[in-house]
Symmetry: C2
Subunit: 231 residues, 2 copies
């Protein structure tokens, strides 16, 4: 068993979570990666996460299946079209239909359960409040509140010897800054995946909000996005 401090890292296979995993590793944590098969239309990200874990050397990678399609309500989990080619202004106004109700609350809850089993007190999540789609569960207020809840919700938290922390190292960074940090830590962005609506071969659409934010980020960072897009 590793003697290093343990952490559970939420991993979607996107560039944010891949960078977050690299940051946790660079801080010396023994990383336990957690992914979710939640009925998302971009299920391709699960294979991507597995490859990222192999490349970066995590202690363990667990994928939990939860069928969030049973509750629906999002373009990512229901038969609703993913919006394409929205301009920057539209993208930054309101909460889009790709919002999945309570998604980060669900994911962090399960991460918390696993952390408690592992004796880990730090959870890493790659949320970002700058170049993002305005999801409520990506804001610092939410992250702080979840940590408070974690300390009341669990046997380990109530024992009070250590406090749970939710680490969101990307929260105040632009996409370009994230990409620069990840590049300096050796993240292979060719393995990552951001598209909400890839084709059956897993090739990114290039037009959904997530693809557009990614492309703009690489451009601003002065770096080349190594992934392929549908023409």
């Amino acid at each position: 068993m590793s003697q290093k401090k343990r952490t559970v890292v939420l991993l979607s296979g996107g560039l944010d979570s891949a960078t977050t995993l690299a940051i946790a590793k660079s801080e010396g944590y023994a990383c336990y990666a957690l992914s979710f098969d939640y009925g998302q239309r971009h299920r391709f990200e699960l294979e991507v996460s597995e490859k990222l874990c192999q490349a970066s050397g995590v202690e363990e990678h667990v994928t939990i299946k939860i069928d969030l399609r049973k509750i629906g309500g999002s373009a990512l989990t229901a038969e609703i079209d993913v919006p394409k080619d929205r301009d920057e202004e539209t993208m930054s106004t309101g909460i889009p239909i790709t919002y999945v109700p309570a998604r980060n609350t669900v994911f962090l809850s399960i991460a918390l359960g696993w952390a408690e089993v592992l004796g880990a007190f730090d959870l890493f999540i790659g949320v970002n409040a700058v170049d993002y789609s305005g999801y409520p569960d990506c804001r610092p207020e939410f992250i702080e509140q979840f940590a408070k809840l974690a300390n009341l919700a669990t046997k380990a938290g109530v024992a009070g010897e250590q406090q749970f922390q939710v680490r969101a190292p990307l929260i105040d960074l632009t996409k370009a800054e994230i990409i620069k940090i990840g590049t300096s830590l050796g993240v292979d962005y060719g393995l990552t995946h951001s598209c909400y609506d890839p084709n059956p071969e897993g090739i990114s659409c290039g037009h959904c909000d997530s693809c557009q934010l990614r492309q703009r980020g690489f451009e601003e960072a002065g770096l080349v996005d190594p992934i392929e897009y549908q023409t």
Copy 2:
């Protein structure tokens, strides 16, 4: 579509959640029942929940599958024996091995997601801090904190037109009081199920903490427990 105020009720098929459902119905809510197939050893409770829903007339009953065995750490989800015949003092000391890490946080999170999709703002959960096994996520502090989180975590909460509430009507009641209220509301306790370790036919063991608390509750209420126990 029903014009009544909607609520999501967590339903395990136990006597607490069955009573909670009856209370929500008695308050005039349109009830959406949510159960979980989380790899629990007492999976029999899922059939019980379905029968309870048929008997009490809910709008919809959804069962979400999440394999919490992948994270383990509890006698309910891992290969650990369920403790039997513990005396009252032992039962009220410490948090037992039947505690499932972060379970109520996970369940409430998914309930929150569904509530948001349904336009519901009230969640009902049958937690109880009196005649219970000392689980941290059954205490009022936890319940209050979850409601705060819900209002930060969701599009509906952030919009601020209504606030999420987590209703835990049994939290301060003894098991005997719960049984009396449920009986007055017409709950058929013969359909409910409390055992952590039933036999393959679903017959309760009579010796785990949950069976003992149930039996004592009926005794104190001066009522007969209609379910069968292994001899």
